[in-house]
């Protein structure tokens, strides 16, 4: 305390700039109570504190996720199950709503029209389109069965999960090829 006071008085004598900026002038209340706090504090209401906290929270970085993990068959197949499901469901929803509004929009989505248009395509396109449709369907179907086996409590150890995964991938490949050329 004494050294701080000495230093202050020394500055007073040496620097004209600093002498104007004394503690007593800047913080009259602080100098009266002999407080030595150099940081200014003020009382905040609960709401004000909350809003500061909320503003600060918005600047926090996003927690690292997916991209920091090594790709593994377990996680990749889990993600693929959802993606293929979304593709299939979106297709059904799009077609059903499309069929409902087709007369209003003058579209022709009758099965006969679609079949005729599809039949007129070259063979390569037919096989390609069938394959694109068959892949998510077969994957989601086989992996769905894998999920149902898990739900009975079986194949839940690491070996079972991996074996099941490879079986699903194999069956998906084979059945996709079969359906593409069917």
């Amino acid at each position: 305390m004494l050294s701080r006071a000495l230093a202050r008085s020394a500055w007073k004598g040496q620097s004209p700039v600093l002498s104007k900026f004394t503690l007593a002038k800047a913080y009259p209340a602080a100098s009266i109570t002999q407080s030595r706090s150099t940081a200014s504090t003020s009382n905040l209401s609960n709401d004000e504190a909350q809003s500061i906290l909320n503003a600060q929270r918005k600047l926090r970085p996003i927690s690292p996720h997916l991209t920091i993990y090594q790709p593994q068959i377990t996680s990749l197949m889990s993600g693929a199950n959802r993606i293929t499901g979304a593709i299939l469901s979106t297709s059904i929803y799009t077609f059903a709503i499309g069929y409902l509004v087709a007369p209003t929009l003058g579209l022709h989505l009758e099965s006969q029209t679609i079949a005729e248009a599809f039949g007129a395509m070259p063979d390569a396109a037919k096989i390609g389109i069938k394959g694109i449709l068959a892949l998510p369907f077969t994957y989601h179907a086989w992996n769905g069965i894998r999920h149902l086996i898990w739900d009975t409590g079986k194949m839940l150890d690491m070996k079972g999960v991996y074996t099941g995964g490879y079986v699903v991938l194999g069956l998906t490949g084979l059945s996709t090829i079969y359906l593409a050329f069917a």
Binding site: R60, P61, I62, A96, S111, Q112, F118
Partner: protein, 190 residues
């Protein structure tokens, strides 16, 4: 700009904390500063730290962070929902029932080679229920109520509306066209 500032801060702090490191690494103000400081001193292996912490790099955003809002105060306990079998085990069992039912419903018409309008209608309804549950879980997972309360509500209602329209559309398809199974067969053999 910020990174420029930080790198200068790191080197400055690295020299400042150097004498302390030999004793023990106690909590410093910033983990990033600590890590880089040690790397500069060549003792990162000794201290058992990773080469580069994920908190230093900034290049792995998939999507920007959603709004982060605190409900109530910081230390409120998480709300525990009332146990409800309709949202719990019954819901789970119902999901499995629908999934299991889809296997014979999908295979049977193609295996039997005959078309039964009732079976086809049940297949259509089951697919829609299965899809609705799937979309619902995606909305719950990707649009958390905590961050996007309005969007969550909107997405849920949009999904309900879409499902209703799909049901009407499939009803139209079943009554005016040949049904799902036969339509797929037609296109596939075209």
């Amino acid at each position: 700009m910020a990174s420029l500032f930080r790198s200068s801060l790191r080197t400055a702090t690295a020299t400042a904390i150097a004498p302390r490191l030999s004793r023990s690494i106690t909590a410093t103000t910033s983990a990033a500063v600590k890590c880089t400081g040690m790397k500069n001193l060549g003792i990162s292996r000794q201290a058992g730290m990773a080469k580069k912490g994920f908190h230093i790099s900034a290049s792995r955003k998939i999507l920007p962070a959603g709004p982060q809002v605190i409900q109530g105060t910081v230390n409120d306990a998480a709300e525990i929902p009332d146990p409800n079998a309709t949202h719990g085990s019954y819901h789970w069992s119902f999901e499995r029932l629908i999934s299991v039912a889809l296997i014979p419903l999908t295979v049977a018409p193609f295996a039997a080679g005959s078309i039964n309008p009732v079976t086809d209608a049940i297949l259509g309804a089951t697919i829609v229920i299965h899809s609705h549950i799937g979309f619902e879980s995606m909305v719950i997972d990707y649009i958390p109520h905590r961050k996007y309360p309005t969007l969550r509500k909107g997405a849920m209602w949009a999904l309900k509306g879409a499902t209703l329209l799909v049901l009407v559309g499939l009803y139209e398809f079943e009554t005016n066209d040949v049904g799902i199974t036969e339509a797929v067969k037609r296109v596939w053999r075209a």
